[in-house]
């Protein structure tokens, strides 16, 4: 029930008014003066006040602003009771915060109409205050959620390599919430990858899509995956996760360690520009594909393009926020961007040029840009930093004809040895040396193949056909590996012996590489090892592989 507070110093008025107000169906409380009215306010919390203007003590005019103050945000209608119709008093009442007047003698119909009208205002105001409160709550909750997502996002981008010295970027501070994404990561070969993405939609949804994208990007770049594999995997994940109307326009670029080769896949990003030393755009990385997250894995086209670049070239990537900047005639557009770039030699100049365009104009979309200099990256290929094992050992592996037919011994030996700390660093060299020595023992010692056959492409294949035939027919013979690890002198002593008839190695120890396979293999062993020698009439080859 709505409550009405009646404030009047005359008992007759109080009685008359309270009777009428109760009769209209309101709860009602009467007090004698302004001070009492303020005193009962917190307890009674009236929805409307009927206030006499002239009272001893605190007058109605002095009480009204205080009541309004107590009412706080919700509108409290105050109707002044007045016997006067002096213009001046009415004006004072309005200034004091009065909303209406009712004059004596009281007309019940007029009073009821006024009460109802002001009660409706009160109700509206009160429901508005409720809604404001709810709105403020939701707004602070969203604010909090944004903070959480931003936190997660920052952590997930902790490895984002935007500090790479040859990469300069321009992003708006809250770019994750406008859907733009700029990722950079070094690869294991000293190469560098850059992804510029633009999600459909804004706000949290765009940021949510950025999480799986960045995770996939960082994990695949760490493995040194190709651009094609990276975009295929991101597409697969986004297609699986995102609703149909949401996708990621993206340009993924890989610059080789030498800085000479750019491979890229562009799905829906405006053409990135390759600038030569003279600031002239000489190539553009055109969008050739649909954005990521639209097609199924089967429909997806991961074909990349590549370009050879020189050390004075720069690659400038940007989102459509730049092409959509207002220009003299409509939007800047792709040609406008090219023109803009002609006058820029670095990211600082480009940023300044873009900001000049933005002055006094409302930005339609956020601009993200990256400037990559195509120089040798200077990034070190990743290496195994483990301390080499300190335990010396010696192994002897003898393979008989059936083992030789069935096994791929060098691969397995190297794979097993590479688990020993420190062996990862030399596994590739170890493979090459053992494989050459083993092939030599097998092909010449046991299978009696003639290398000269390999001098023509046809002979090359014929040689390996013959190899297969003789290997399958092999009945006798063995090949033995001796591997001795000496941690004190940091080397591996390798020995390969076969049960063949041996040969005069003198004819093979030519210094210059010949065009046949064995000469080339020998050359490899010679360069990778030291103290290369033959024993047992050429049946045993020994060498030392430094670690």
């Amino acid at each position: 029930m709505m409550r009405v507070l009646i404030v009047d110093d005359q008992a007759a008025n109080r009685l008359l008014l309270s009777d009428m107000v109760r009769g209209f169906g309101y709860q009602c409380l009467t007090v004698n003066d302004g001070a009492d009215a303020l005193a009962v306010y917190p307890r009674f919390t009236p929805d409307l006040v009927l206030l006499d203007v002239l009272m001893p003590g605190l007058s109605g005019l002095a009480t009204a602003p205080k009541l309004k103050q107590l009412a706080g945000e919700v509108h409290l209608p105050i109707i002044f009771i007045t016997a006067l119709d002096e213009q001046e008093t009415l004006l004072q009442c309005l200034e004091a915060g009065g909303d209406d007047f009712i004059s004596k003698p009281f007309e019940p119909v007029v009073l009821e109409a006024k009460l109802r009208a002001h009660m409706r205002t009160r109700e509206l105001s009160s429901s508005l205050a409720e809604k404001n409160k709810a709105l403020a709550y939701h707004s602070s909750r969203i604010e909090r959620e944004h903070q959480i997502v931003e936190h997660i996002f920052q952590n997930s981008l902790a490895h984002n390599y935007l500090d790479y010295p040859n990469l300069h970027t321009y992003l708006s501070p809250m770019s994750m919430f406008n859907g733009d994404l700029l990722l950079a990561a070094p690869g294991p070969l000293g190469n560098i990858y850059v992804l510029l993405g633009d999600f459909t939609g804004h706000g949290l949804s765009a940021a949510v899509g950025a999480l799986p994208t960045s995770q996939t990007f960082f994990s695949l770049t760490e493995q040194g995956a190709s651009v094609g594999e990276i975009v295929r995997e991101i597409n697969k994940r986004l297609h699986h996760l995102l609703p149909t109307d949401m996708f990621l326009a993206a340009l993924v670029v890989e610059l080789s360690a030498s800085g000479e080769r750019v491979s890229y896949w562009n799905g829906g990003i405006p053409p990135a520009v390759l600038l030569g030393a003279d600031q002239r755009a000489w190539a553009a990385l055109q969008p050739q594909h649909l954005a990521l997250g639209i097609l199924t894995d089967n429909e997806f086209d991961s074909r990349v393009s590549s370009l050879r670049v020189s050390p004075d070239d720069s690659l400038v990537l940007y989102t459509d926020g730049l092409t959509e900047l207002p220009a003299e005639q409509g939007m800047l557009g792709v040609d406008g961007v090219r023109e803009l770039l002609q006058g820029c030699t670095n990211m600082g100049e480009l940023t300044a040029a873009v900001q000049r365009l933005m002055i006094g104009r409302k930005q339609r979309d956020d601009v993200s840009m990256a400037w990559l200099r195509c120089r040798p990256t200077g990034l070190k290929p990743r290496q195994d930093n483990t301390t080499p094992s300190g335990i010396p050992f010696e192994v002897k592996i003898r393979l008989h004809s059936e083992d030789i037919q069935q096994l791929d011994p060098v691969n397995q030996i190297v794979r097993d040895l590479s688990h020993i700390p420190g062996f990862g660093l030399v596994k590739s060299q170890l493979f090459t040396v053992l494989q050459e020595a083993y092939s030599n023992a097998l092909e010449h010692g046991l299978l009696q193949l003639d290398s000269s056959l390999k001098s023509t492409p046809e002979g090359f294949e014929q040689y390996y056909q013959l190899y297969q035939e003789r290997l399958q027919a092999l009945q006798h013979g063995w090949i033995e590996f001796g591997i001795e690890y000496c941690p004190a002198r940091r080397y591996l002593k390798l020995r390969v012996t076969d049960s063949g008839t041996g040969f005069s190695h003198a004819e093979l120890v030519a210094e210059e590489p010949t065009d046949d396979g064995f000469g080339r293999g020998l050359q490899l062993i010679r360069q990778l090892t030291s103290e290369l020698c033959w024993n047992d009439n050429g049946r045993t080859v020994e060498c030392i592989l430094p670690m």
């Binding site: 070969l189 080789s256 590549s306 590739s428 494989q435 092939s439 080339r520």
Partner: protein, 101 residues
Amino acid sequence: MTLSTEYSNDNKQFVIHVKGKFDFGLVQQFRQSYAELKDGAETVVVDFRETEYIDSCALGMLLNMRKSVGVGEKNFHLVNCRPEIRNILEIARFDKLFHID
């Protein structure tokens, strides 16, 4: 699948990826991979990013490819080599015959 091939978007580049070991086990597969090279392909690229080991037989296969596809008509690039593999290619002086990156 240790050997896979693809064309670039503009079909001007033919890329061969070799995963893991690049040795005599791939002799036939490797030759077949470039047997039906499209005319438009100007450059043959062997991508070594996933190649762990190579041996002298692989060197022979690369030379055969160069010979049979046509020296002088196409460009040959060996790209994304790990330092160890690059070392082997350099020992064999392949930097004189191929563009190594």
